[in-house]
């Protein structure tokens, strides 16, 4: 039985797509290249040639014919920074992708349910009480998750756990956290604590070392593995609660699991380097532009793009001028115009 019909002219068809494996291989190669290039860039005067020589010689186990300081800079200063920037970029991009799918809204970011604002409060409190940097990291992680826990609990108390209740709850909790942060800033010592809190908020990878990365590695790995495994299900969930259930998907358990894992990723990122905006919002769009909206395709691509992006941004932050530029400033400067350009391209679809 054939139903002859007039169809609308094909939009961006993506028919005959490049297989996703090609994209992933290509982006992974790009990532490796970016890492190598960024390892060679820094304020300490070392030529690219010298850096490459040290890296290759070290890998080959050769005897050092260079100052140990140079080796330390490459492997203990730049490399942990690059690794954590990559992890954070990938985390935020993946979280953003997941939230955009679950909440059926391409305009949401990983901060939707209050993780970032909660983490800020945790870090600010630790700074206010003059606790050491390790405790600050722990407090940021813990309070970020507490905030999400609160966001997930409020709808339960109100008797409705639909998506819209969740979003509303996220708005309330974020606002609450914002108030707490304001109160903490008000009583903080303006000579050093207030500055430290603001600096932490603006995001920086300058103090990241291997132990910091190791401490959040487990939650991050869990987050990545679970969310990437759920990528098809996120698309089913993007049909909306009623429709997803009619198709046979256990909407609430999957959604809650995804929210928790995305929160693990975001909390881990924020506690390593402070809050970074725009990445979780813009990178998923970019990934969708490249490979289409299927979660199974664009979510892994999002991760790789996010990692590349964040590494490039951080390397720029530490090299573009004598002073280190806070990360959020750069991501905003790059992210906002990019977002406008994206909006222009998608004008037709949005109408």
């Amino acid at each position: 039985m054939r139903l002859a019909e007039q169809s609308l002219p094909a939009g961006s068809t993506r028919a005959g797509r490049t297989p996703i494996s090609a994209w992933i291989a290509g982006l992974t190669a790009a990532l490796i290249l970016i890492v190598l290039v960024c390892l060679c860039l820094g304020q300490y005067s070392m030529s690219v040639g010298e850096t490459l020589h040290i890296m290759t010689a070290k890998a080959a186990g050769a005897e050092p014919d260079w100052k140990p300081m140079k080796e330390n800079i490459i492997f203990f200063l730049r490399l942990p920074r690059i690794i954590s920037a990559g992890l954070v970029g990938a985390s935020l991009a993946l979280s953003g992708s997941v939230y955009q799918g679950i909440f059926r809204n391409p305009l949401v970011s990983p901060d939707l349910l209050g993780v970032s604002s909660g983490a800020c409060v945790g870090a600010a409190l630790s700074i206010l009480l003059n606790w050491d940097p390790v405790t600050t990291q722990f407090m940021a992680f813990g309070c970020g998750l507490l905030a999400v826990g609160l966001t997930l609990t409020i709808p339960r108390l109100l008797g409705s756990t639909s998506n819209i209740m969740l979003v509303l709850s996220g708005v309330i909790v974020s606002g609450l956290m914002g108030s707490f942060l304001g109160m903490i800033k008000y009583v903080a010592d303006p000579k050093s604590q207030l500055q430290a809190i603001t600096f932490w908020q603006m995001g920086s990878f300058a103090s990241v070392r291997y132990p910091d990365i190791l401490s959040v590695l487990l939650p991050m790995v869990i987050g990545f593995v679970v969310l990437l495994a759920l990528s098809w299900w996120i698309d089913v969930l993007s049909m909306g609660e009623t429709e997803a259930k009619l198709l046979g998907a256990n909407f609430k358990p999957i959604r809650n699991a995804a929210v928790i894992c995305a929160s693990l990723l975001t909390a881990s990122s924020v506690c390593m380097c402070g809050t970074i905006s725009w990445v979780g919002l813009v990178i998923p769009h970019f990934a969708r532009m490249l490979v289409g909206s299927h979660g199974t395709r664009y979510m892994p691509v999002s991760c790789l793009l996010g990692a590349c992006f964040m590494i490039i941004v951080d390397t720029t932050a530490r090299n573009i001028s004598g002073m280190e530029v806070p990360i959020s400033i750069l991501t905003s400067l790059i992210g906002a115009p990019f977002y406008i350009a994206l909006m222009r391209r998608r004008r037709g679809e949005l109408q």
Binding site: E5, E243, L247
Partner: protein, 261 residues
């Protein structure tokens, strides 16, 4: 028996019964048209049958099992639901969209497999839209989207297909095509439940018809017996006529021209 509905009752909190004691059965290859005026509870009844709402009392047995004891996965393997309209947020391809019908059979942390894709393509072929498989869902016409929705329901490999006013957004020609499709589904062995505004649909399709009147009583029976002037006039509060049209070999439900208000 696919559907065994016993004494369904539904009332909104603080309100009177919208559905009172509704009962019927539906077998393979049978079709049920649910007619009723706006606001009488037709959609509510339909949603109860689709497991979107819980009835106040009464029982629905799906393939012999009580529906309230079935998981969403189990229900999805029996019922394929086709909604009136679908708002597309993301531009998935048609084939990807239709493959979501396999959700009930896909494991927790996996994706659909080749087998699932084949089933989805078969469904597209059945509906004659397999040439649209790689098109973005947002770039096809309304009628083609309706086809895609039905294809997705078929992909679930259900026993019953539920269609909620499938022709309400389609033009005259396409509406007729959909009805022909529905009859085809019936003849292929699916149980079909359809809600409709138009009594003519019930008459064209035959099978069973059900009227939900303003007192919440469900009158079920063969279409010819149920779709009568005596039943329809108080239902729609309209001076309608059921007319036999020899040239076309069918009966039609028509109004007698427009009156002055």
């Amino acid at each position: 028996m696919i559907y065994d509905v016993r004494k369904l009752q539904f009332a909104y909190p603080g309100g009177k019964n919208i559905i009172n004691d509704a009962s019927f059965t539906l077998d393979e290859g049978e079709i049920l048209n649910i007619l009723g005026p706006n606001g009488a509870g037709k959609s509510t009844l339909f949603n109860c049958l689709a497991n979107i709402r819980r009835p106040g009392s009464g029982q629905i047995l799906l393939n012999g099992k009580p529906m309230e004891k079935m998981s969403v996965k189990e229900v999805a393997k029996v019922i394929g639901y086709v909604q009136q309209t679908h708002v597309a947020v993301f531009d998935y391809t048609v084939i990807y969209f239709v493959m979501m019908g396999r959700a009930a059979s896909v494991g927790m942390f996996s994706k659909p497999k080749e087998e699932d894709r084949r089933i989805a393509m078969d469904a597209l072929k059945t509906l004659g839209i397999d040439h649209l498989a790689e098109r973005p869902y947002t770039a096809i016409s309304g009628g083609e989207r309706q086809m895609a929705l039905i294809a997705r329901a078929l992909t679930q490999q259900p026993r019953a297909i539920l269609l909620d006013e499938p022709t309400s957004h389609l033009d005259f020609g396409r509406s007729t095509l959909i009805l022909e499709l529905v009859r085809e589904l019936k003849s292929r062995g699916y149980s079909v439940i359809m809600t409709t505004h138009d009594p003519n649909h019930a008459m064209l399709l035959g099978g069973k018809a059900a009227l939900l009147d303003r007192q919440g009583i469900l009158h079920v029976g063969p279409a010819e017996e149920v779709v009568t002037e005596e039943n329809l006039r108080p239902l729609y509060r309209s001076e309608l006529h059921i007319v036999d049209i020899p040239q076309l070999g069918r009966k039609a439900c028509l109004s007698a021209g427009l009156k002055a208000i």
